[in-house]
């Protein structure tokens, strides 16, 4: 009896997140932000529905199949999200107005080189002292 309530909790939670994903698809302005809503909410929504079903079936073989379906969804969903965003970016799809751009590549490379230099120097210094 308790298990059924737990299952209902997971099913309703999953439905809520799926509905949020669809609302996000309608409301958000451009391709990339829409992928935010779909890529995340679909994963957790479908996952929660499958967990709820696991509490309902209570059978080793079916639970194994549901776990397999869940693993496939969790691995495939971000990959497809990434592919859609990548294709849109490489084709030059415009972003929503007022999008920012932070280029941290050069700065992080510099920080990394500095760290490497410091470790090299400390190593050499330690060797010369001993």
């Amino acid at each position: 009896m308790v298990l059924q309530y737990v299952a209902v909790f997971f099913l309703l939670g999953g439905f809520f997140f799926l509905i949020v994903g669809v609302i996000g698809l309608i409301r958000l302005p451009d391709v990339y932000t829409r992928m935010h809503a779909l890529g995340k909410c679909d994963t957790l929504g479908t996952g929660m529905v499958l967990i709820g079903l696991m509490f309902l079936v209570q059978d080793v073989t079916n639970i194994t199949k549901l776990i397999l379906i869940m693993a496939m969804i969790i691995t495939i969903n971000p990959v497809v999200t990434h592919l859609i965003a990548k294709t849109a970016y490489n084709r030059g799809t415009p972003m929503a107005e007022g999008s920012f751009l932070i280029n941290d590549y050069v700065a992080s490379q510099r920080r990394r080189r500095k760290r490497q230099l410091e470790t090299n120097l400390s190593k050499e210094g330690g060797e010369s002292q001993t």
Binding site: V20, I23, R27, T43, D104, R112
Partner: protein
């Protein structure tokens, strides 16, 4: 094929056991006919797989410590996925739609392909970021709000993956 299996008996046994356990989970019966059919197909598949991933010079050096770190990583990832979904739900259901989207270009220092895939997929699944491009060590991330964009660089899961990669060296 047979020579390769002789070269790596432990690996073949491991794959056989794995497939046999999977067969027992799917069929859920201990009748001898079920077990015999499962064993036959497991042997056939092990022989066919042997030219794909079992070779003595190219084995995956996967230690128990790494499995443990990976387990902790997945638990943290699950918690992060739930937080991400609640964040997105709050943004989407807010009538003002408080977003300020943008692109962050940064550096990815991971080298093992498995860890790179894990990192990119977990960026996609966690709060407010999706991966747009990963080329050599250039990583382009799309962020939903500007606060998130500044936090991508020093991120806890990235540190964990770096620890896991350090074990290979």
């Amino acid at each position: 094929m047979i020579e390769r299996m002789k070269g790596d008996v432990m690996g073949s046994m491991f794959i056989f056991t794995l497939m046999m356990a999977f067969w027992l989970l799917i069929s859920a019966s201990v009748h001898w006919q079920h077990i015999l059919v499962g064993a036959i197909f497991s042997v056939i598949l092990t022989v066919f797989w042997s030219n794909l991933n079992i070779s003595s010079d190219n084995r995956t050096n996967f230690s128990i410590l790494q499995a443990y770190l990976l387990f902790i990583y997945f638990v943290k990832l699950g918690i992060d996925i739930v937080i991400a979904n609640i964040n997105v739900a709050m943004i989407v259901l807010n009538p003002h739609l408080p977003i300020s989207p943008g692109i962050v270009i940064m550096r990815c220092d991971l080298e093992r392909s498995l860890l790179r895939v894990l990192y990119v997929n977990s960026i996609t699944l966690t709060p407010g970021t999706i991966t747009v491009e990963l080329e050599d060590n250039l990583l382009i991330v799309h962020a939903l709000t500007e606060d998130v964009a500044h936090g991508v660089e020093d991120w806890e899961l990235n540190r964990r993956l770096m620890e896991m990669e350090a074990l290979y060296k």
